[in-house]
């Protein structure tokens, strides 16, 4: 057995055991007959768990509001049953990932146990048992049990999820807790949605469909959106790569600059959103060059002033083009400034020092390094050591010295492998 996995396996066993005890301890409170409302919520929860939409840092599933709805509508024990039966998607079963199955079971049953009994002990009314929905007059009195149950549920879910992630990936608990806590408000809103589902079903069982159908439609839209968003960077990479391929001297340049930029940004400790933005900016940084006459780009004679003026227009042209693309328009200033230099000798605007954004300074380093190490019509590419020495020389006045050192350090620590493999290796590291 792999020793690295043992702590999580022990944690999963303990969580599953506590979850089973919670279920057994509540069994006496199971109503004599389960109602149609319970079965409807159970089916909806099973379906939802297996078709959750994954968003960056967030999973759009309606299991959580459905267990809340079961608490309010049928009581804690039926809610525990729903939680236990839907705690893990079929995917984990197919993969026989038993520790994960056990931990998910423990997490959801424990949090539902705490939620359900908080609601009942604070005087919350179980709607199906008394056969009526909440009236407007009752609402103020029910705010305390409903609010407390929602808060307890969110706290328990976030705490248990954070402990699980921290132990499973051997990370410190606090950063994980901070990351997972970002879903706090969304979870609270879903708790309120759970109450509304219960209220709707207490009024008219069939009206459940009126509530769930729009949620499913929203889920469908989100799913399509996330699929397209996830594929966007790959799409730009393919298209830019295809268009760059016409020039053997710049073939693959944008992709390599993107790889170097990702390496630099990660080494500088930037967050995932920044790294992703910079990767897109790097892929598009030479868009303006695609629009320049090919004869000029492959000219082997000395360039005259007009030639230089044309070439120096490419960051502005690229910036204008990027500004037209809605999702990446915020990157336009970085694209436009990737040839600016700290001492003001760059182009197109001659910006200096703090006027140049961090993204543009990172792009300048990645772009310069790739330009130095690539072959050109008029010279062969430099070796890595010579390029690093040249970067350091430029960092005295033109490039950001701190970032150059970070980049050089990252290059030296990176495995000697093709760039794609390097990137894959970086992505495998914990965020």
């Amino acid at each position: 057995m792999n020793d690295a996995r043992r702590p999580f396996e022990i944690l999963a066993f303990v969580a599953a055991l506590l979850g089973a005890l919670a279920l057994a301890g509540s069994w006496m409170a199971l109503p004599p007959a389960l109602t149609i409302e319970f079965y409807l919520l159970l089916v909806a929860a099973v379906v939802s768990e297996n078709y959750a939409v994954m968003m960056p840092g967030y999973s759009f599933s309606i299991v959580y509001p459905l267990t809340m709805a079961t608490v309010v509508l049928c009581g804690p024990t039926p809610a525990l049953l729903v939680a236990a039966l839907t705690s893990t998607g079929l995917g984990e079963f197919r993969e026989r990932n038993w520790p994960l199955v056990g931990y998910n079971f423990g997490q959801l049953t424990l949090s539902t146990f705490l939620t359900g009994w908080t609601y009942v002990l604070l005087g919350g009314r179980v709607l199906v048992l008394q056969g009526t929905a909440l009236s407007v007059a009752e609402l103020p009195r029910m705010l305390a049990p409903l609010g407390a149950a929602a808060v307890i549920s969110v706290i328990a879910n976030i705490a248990l999820a954070s402990v699980g992630v921290a132990v499973k990936s051997s990370q410190p608990l606090l950063p994980v807790l901070e990351s997972v806590s970002r879903v706090l408000w969304g979870q609270l809103a879903l708790g309120i949605a759970g109450f509304v589902i219960a209220q709707v079903m207490a009024l008219e069982v069939w009206a459940f469909a009126l509530f769930v159908f729009p949620l499913l439609i929203a889920r469908q839209f989100y799913q399509s959106f996330t699929a397209m968003q996830d594929a966007y960077t790959d799409t730009i990479r393919s298209l830019v790569g295809a268009l760059e391929a016409k020039d053997p001297y710049t073939r693959g340049h944008s992709e390599r600059v993107a790889e170097y930029s990702v390496l630099l940004a990660r080494s500088a400790g930037r967050d995932g959103g920044f790294v992703s933005r910079l990767e897109n900016a790097a892929l598009l940084h030479d868009l303006g060059k695609l629009a320049l006459p090919g004869a000029l780009l492959r000219k082997t004679q000395k360039l005259d002033d007009d030639d230089w003026a044309t070439i120096r227009s490419h960051p502005e042209i690229g910036g204008r083009m990027v500004a037209r693309i809605p999702a990446v328009s915020v990157l336009a200033p970085a694209v436009e400034a990737h040839h600016e230099r700290l001492n003001g000798t760059g182009y197109p605007r001659g910006l200096a020092a703090d006027s140049i954004s961090l993204e543009a300074r990172m792009l300048a380093i990645a772009d310069s390094y790739d330009a130095m190490t690539s072959d050109r019509p008029y010279r062969p590419g430099l070796e890595k050591e010579a390029a690093v020495a040249e970067l350091r020389r430029c960092s005295e006045a033109e490039l950001d010295a701190g970032l150059v050192e970070t980049f050089v350090g990252a290059l030296e620590n990176a495995p000697a492998a093709p760039l794609r493999s390097l990137r894959d290796a970086l992505e495998e590291e914990p965020a």
């Binding site: 009236s135 709707v200 929203a218 889920r219 730009i236 298209l239 695609l290 629009a291 083009m321 037209r324």
Partner: protein, 360 residues
């Protein structure tokens, strides 16, 4: 108390505010992304508070939206007419069917009639501004938004169901769901627009290096879109014609380097790794004359799309007076394309007023 007086008392106030809030939210979206969510709530108001109240709040919503001057700029009259039609239709449904049926069937009918009226109104407005037949625009809008419209009708019905016990409190969860569905729909449209613009910008950048090609693909895409709409294509079909038109010369554009030994690439080979264009590849392959590797005959759907693009390219050449009569793209495809498909495409181009080059 008459229904009109309920406008200024009780729950009607909250319904009015909810309608205004939805219109303000709407005004924060791109015009093309408008979901007109408030219309379903206007129908619910017509059922619960009387149709005069719905008229009053519907008009207030319009006025606020116009004041916001975001999504409705330049279309005040059109929107006013459409919104008046909506509340009138919802009111007529309530008056005629109200006494005979229960509240939930009534709201389903009223909300259905209201969102349909709004959709028809907006389609007519777009058809007039784009010079396209209203029926095509309407069919396309219904196909694209069917799920969203159904969700809105459900939410209007949910409002009526919850109102019985929760009164105006019912608006809180319903508003949240209206915003959730509209926002997710808008995000999806945003990312699709991003893909389209990205493609357009990249092709434009590549074309700029060749003065004789500058702007050709974008013009062809506009002509092809117009012809395919007139041919009755909708949804993804019309979208992929647009992508195929933008990309039909990309192989030639991407192979400018003079010492390229491999010869000009096909457009399909340039974009073969771009996932979201996978259903455009067969169209590009037909335009480039590349047979299917599996030996299958191209479908009529793909042939129609390819012929639209080829003819649009020839039309652009004719307009710009640089068409090579000997090798027109439509003529090259002619042997592959069934006569009825060619006739349909050419007739659509002629009805749109394009100068169609000599046809075999």
């Amino acid at each position: 108390m008459t229904p009109f007086l309920t406008v200024i008392t009780g729950s009607a106030i909250w319904f009015g505010l909810a309608i205004l809030l939805l219109d303000v939210f709407e005004s924060s979206l791109e015009e093309a992304h408008g979901t007109h969510a408030s219309v379903a709530l206007i129908a619910a108001t017509a059922v619960l508070a009387g149709w005069q109240a719905a008229v009053a709040w519907g008009l207030a919503g319009v006025i606020l939206a116009v004041v916001a001057q975001r999504s409705y700029r330049g279309s005040f009259t059109a929107l006013l007419v459409v919104r008046l039609s909506v509340v009138t239709v919802a009111g007529i449904v309530v008056v005629l069917a109200g006494p005979a049926i229960g509240a939930v069937p009534l709201i389903l009918m009223a909300a259905g009639a209201a969102v349909l009226t709004e959709t028809v109104g907006m389609a007519v407005r777009q058809a007039i501004s784009d010079g396209l037949p209203a029926v095509y625009v309407l069919a396309s809008a219904v196909q694209q938004r069917a799920l969203l419209l159904a969700a809105q009708v459900c939410l209007a019905a949910l409002t009526v169901v919850l109102y019985g016990s929760m009164h105006a409190w019912a608006l809180l969860p319903v508003l949240a769901l209206f915003v959730l569905t509209s926002q997710s729909y808008s995000m999806l449209l945003d990312i699709r627009r991003t893909y389209r613009t990205t493609l357009m910008v990249l092709v434009e950048a590549a074309e700029a290096a060749k003065p004789d090609k500058a702007g050709h693909s974008e013009r062809v895409a506009a002509i092809a879109h117009s012809i395919s709409a007139r041919c009755g294509l909708r949804g993804r079909d019309i979208e992929r014609v647009g992508f195929a038109a933008l990309l039909h010369d990309i192989g030639e554009i991407a192979d400018e380097w003079p010492d390229n030994q491999a010869g000009t690439r096909s457009a399909a080979s340039v974009v073969e790794h771009v996932g979201f264009l996978s259903d455009v590849l067969p169209v590009l392959a037909i335009i480039d004359g590349i047979p299917d590797p599996s030996g299958e005959q191209p479908s009529e759907r793909d042939l129609l799309a390819a012929y639209v693009v080829a003819l649009a390219s020839d039309i652009d050449g004719t307009v710009r007076d640089d068409l090579d009569e000997g090798v027109t793209e439509a003529a090259a495809l002619a042997p592959l394309v069934p006569a009825r498909v060619k006739a349909r495409v050419v007739a659509a181009a002629l009805r749109n007023g394009y100068p169609v080059p000599a046809i075999d």
